[in-house]
C-alpha cells in the first residue's frame, strides 16, 4: 500500500509515494539513487547501512521508511559541505582508515553520531560505540585513530 512519505534528506525536502513498510535502505538505494548506504547483512549485525536520523546513527536495513516521515535523514552523500569534507571524513582519509571502503560510510556516520553525543570520547567509549560495525579488511586500528583525531580537530564542538 503506497502512501505519501515526506522527510528532509541531506538537507532537502523529499516527497515519496511508497509503501511505508519498506526498509529505508532499499528506498535510498533504489528509489532515490543514493548508493553510498551499503547492504552488508540485512539484519542489523554489521552497520554498513548506518544513516543518521535526527543526528543519531540508525541501521537503515531495519528501519521502515514510514518511520522517518517528518524527520531529518543524513546519508554519507550529505555529510560534506560542498567540497569541504566533514572532519570525520577528513580524518578517515588522512589516516588511511579504510581498505575496500565498503563499510566506510557506516563507520563514518556512526562515528559522527558518537561525536555528537560525546564530543571528547575516551578510547574505550569509541570502541564501545563502534563495536557493532564490522570491517573485514581489518582497518580497525586506523579507524579508532581517525576518530580520535577528528574529535581533537573538532575541539569538543559540533561542526
Amino acid at each position: 500500500m503506497r502512501e505519501n512519505v515526506q522527510l528532509k534528506l541531506n538537507g532537502k525536502p523529499v516527497s515519496l509515494e511508497v509503501d511505508p513498510g519498506r526498509p529505508l535502505l532499499w528506498v535510498l538505494r533504489y528509489d532515490l539513487g543514493l548508493t553510498g548506504t551499503k547492504y552488508g547483512c540485512g539484519e542489523g549485525h554489521c552497520g554498513a547501512c548506518t544513516v543518521l536520523v535526527e543526528g543519531s546513527a540508525v541501521r537503515s536495513c531495519l528501519l521502515r521508511v514510514g518511520a522517518v516521515a517528518g524527520k531529518e535523514v543524513t546519508t554519507i552523500e550529505g555529510l560534506a559541505r560542498g567540497s569541504e569534507l566533514h572532519p570525520v571524513q577528513k580524518a578517515f582519509a588522512e589516516h588511511d582508515a579504510l581498505q575496500c571502503g565498503y563499510c566506510t560510510p557506516g563507520m563514518i556516520l556512526n562515528a559522527v553520531s558518537l561525536l555528537r553525543n560525546i564530543p571528547r570520547p575516551t578510547r574505550s567509549q569509541i570502541i564501545e560505540t563502534m563495536e557493532g560495525n564490522l570491517c573485514r579488511c581489518g582497518a580497525h586500528k586506523r579507524i579508532i585513530e581517525a576518530i580520535e583525531s577528528a574529535a581533537q580537530a573538532m575541539g569538543g564542538g559540533q561542526r
Partner: protein, 731 residues
Amino acid sequence: MKRHDGKQRNIYDEYLERDFTDAPESEGLALPLDRRQFLQLAGGGIAVAFCIPGSLLAQQRGRRGGEGQQLPEDFNAFLRIGEDGRVTGFTGKVELGQGIITSLAQMLADELDVPLESVDMVMGDTDLCPWDRGTFGSMTTRFFGPPFRAAAAEAKAVLVELAAEKLGVTKDRLKTRDGAVYDDAGQKKVTYAELAKGKKILRHLKGAPVEKPGEFTLVGKGLDRRDAVEKVTGRAKYAGDIREPGMLCARILRPPSHDAKFLRVDTSAAREVAGTQVVQDGDLIAVLHESPDLAEQALARLKPEYDQPAASVDDRTIFDHLLKVAPPGETVAEGGNLGAGQSAAHHVVENTYLNSYVAHAPMEPHTALAKVEGNKVTIWASTQTPFALKDEAASLLGLPAQNVRVITPYVGGGFGGKSNNRQALEAVRLAKLTGKPVQVAWTRAEEFFYDTFRPAAVVKVRAGVTEAGLISFWDYGVYFAGERGSQHFYDIPNHRTVAYSGGWTGVPGSHPFATGPWRAPANNTNTFARESHIDALAAKAGIDPVEFRLKNLKDPRMRRVLEAAAKKFGWSPAKAPSGRGYGVACGTDVGTVVAHIAEVAVNKQTGSVRVKRVVCAQEMGLCVNPEGARIQMEGCITMGLGYALAEEIKFAGGKIHDSNFDTYTLPRFSWLPEIETVIVDAKESPAQGGGEPAVICMGGVLANAVFDATGARVLQLPMTPERIKAALARV
C-alpha cells in the same frame, strides 16, 4: 576440469595454489620471471627486453589455462598520455582494498617522471585493460609491476627520442621531469602531452632501462590511499551501485542445503506480487522486481519441495572423515634419513593439528549486473577474475569472447572468495532470459551458503630434538589444506613433508560443499601446525622459543625478521610456559618472510583470550608503498584474530548453519591489540608479495602465547573458550 560435485572446476585453481616461491622447476611451472630477470627489472639497471615478461607468462599460461592469453608487448596497452597531460595507467588487476590503485600509480609516475596527481588508473575493464589472470596470490607488485614499469620506461625513452627530433637537440642532452622533456641548459622544453597528442605512440624502443633504487622519486615513499576521498564520501561505486535503465533485481531460489534434491516448486503466489516476474529455466528459479526488497517478498511466496538426505558428516566428525577419505600422499620435500634422526632424538613430540572451515565473508557480498544487447554482453561484477569471467560468460552464451565486456568497479573485499563468479553468470543467464539488465546481489545468507570456504584440514607432525637442542628429524603430513607453506625452513638434517590431497578443492566425497582459496591459502594451516610444533619442541628442550628457532635456523632473511620482531617487542629469554603469555611464530609466503610476537592474557575460568599486543616484522624485498604495506600487515593481523580465535563454519552435511554475523563472529573493535609493524629494508631485492604474508602466523603465534600463559597446548583452530578450557583440563 570437473569437480566431484559436478561443477566446473575453476581453471585457475591449480595456479592459485602456488605462491611461486617453492614451486619446483621440474614440474614445469616456470616462474613468470626468474630471479635474475627480477633483479634486472626491479632495480639492477640492466636493460631487459620488454617482451620477456609476456613470453614467460605465456609459457606458464600454457600449462595453467587462459589459452592464447598473455600480457601485450606494446607499451600503449599499459598507459596513455592525454592531450591534457593526464596519464592513464591500465591494469587487469582490480582494487579490492589492497591499495594497488595507489602503488601502481606510484610506480607509473616514478618511471615516467610525471606528477603522481596527473595519473589515473583504469582497472579490471576487459575492453580497456591488458589481459590478466586475476587479482590473487599477492601477484600485482611482483608480476604485474615489472612489465608495467618496463612499459613506462619504454614510453619515456620514446618520448625523449621524439623530443630530441622536435627540439633539434641530441638525446643525451635531454632530461625528463614533471611530464616534460627539457634540454640540459634549461632553454628548451616540450611536454609529453605535446608529443603524444592523446594518441597511441607508434614508435617503439626495446630495452629501455628501468630506474634503479637510487633513482626512485616516489617508489619507496609511504603514500596515502588515492581512493580515500571517493570512499569517504560514498561516491565510490561498487557493482551493486551501478544502475541501467529498465534494470531488474533478481532473487534466486536456493536449496536449504548443498545435498538437497529439488523436487518441484509452486510459483503461483509469487506471481501475485505486483511488478514481479518469475523465471524458471531448469535449475534456475528466480523472481525479479525493480526493487530487491519486493523481489525478496515474492521469493518468500515460492513453495518449493526438496528431498533432504540424512547428514553424513558435521563440524565435529569432519576431521575423522577427512583422514578416512584422504588420497595417497605426495612428497613435497625430503632429505636425510628419518630413522637416523629418530635415533639421535632425546625428546620426540607427536601432535595432530586441526582447523575448521572458515568463511571469506567480505563486507560486500557477491554482486553483478549483466546487460545483453543482441550478441553483446556487458557485466559489472565484484570479481577478482574479470578476464576469467569474460571467458565464462562467453562460453555460457555460446558467444565469441570479444563480445563480452567485464567492468570491475571497486570491489568490497575478496580474500580469494571472489575468484568464483557464480553470481555474475546467474545475472548473465537471467539477463538473457528476460531481455533486461539484471542485477544479482547476494544476500548475506547466500554469501555464506555459496562461499568457497577455506577447507577444514588436519596436520600430523612427529619431530625430535637432540640433547643439545637441535631438531634431529621432522616428519610432517598435511591433509586437505594444500601444500603452500608446508615446507619447513629450519635447519633439519632428516625431514619429510607429505601433502595428502594438496589442493583446496579436495577429492570426491571429501568436503560436503565448495572449498577454495582463502587469503594465503594453505599457509595459515601449515604455519599454525609448524610453529606450534616448533614451540612444543622448544618447550621439551627447555629452551626459550626465540632462541630455539635461531639455534635451528640458517636462512638469513628469516633470522633477520625474527631478530627484528624480538627487538621491537623487547623480548627477554625465558623457557615456556613462563606465565607471561608471550608467543612467537615465523613463516614465509609469496616470497616474503614474516615473524610475529604476541602477548596474550588468558582467563582460565572462562577460557577467553585477550590479545594485548602483536608485533610483526616483514621483509618483502623492494617495498613500493610502505604505508600501503603497513595497512596490509595491520589488516592481516586483525583478520587473523578471527580464524585463530573464533571463526568456524558450523554445518551438518550440506546444510550450513551460519547464515549471518549473529552466529559467525568476525573480529571486532574490542578485540584489537596494540599492533606494531616493522618493514625490514631490502630495497635492492625484487619486490615480493604484501597482501597475504602477515596473516599466516596468527594461529601459531596466539597458540604459542596461550601455551606460554597457561602451559596448555591448543591443537585446534579456532581456539574457542571451550577448546582452551579443554586444553587447560589436560595440563
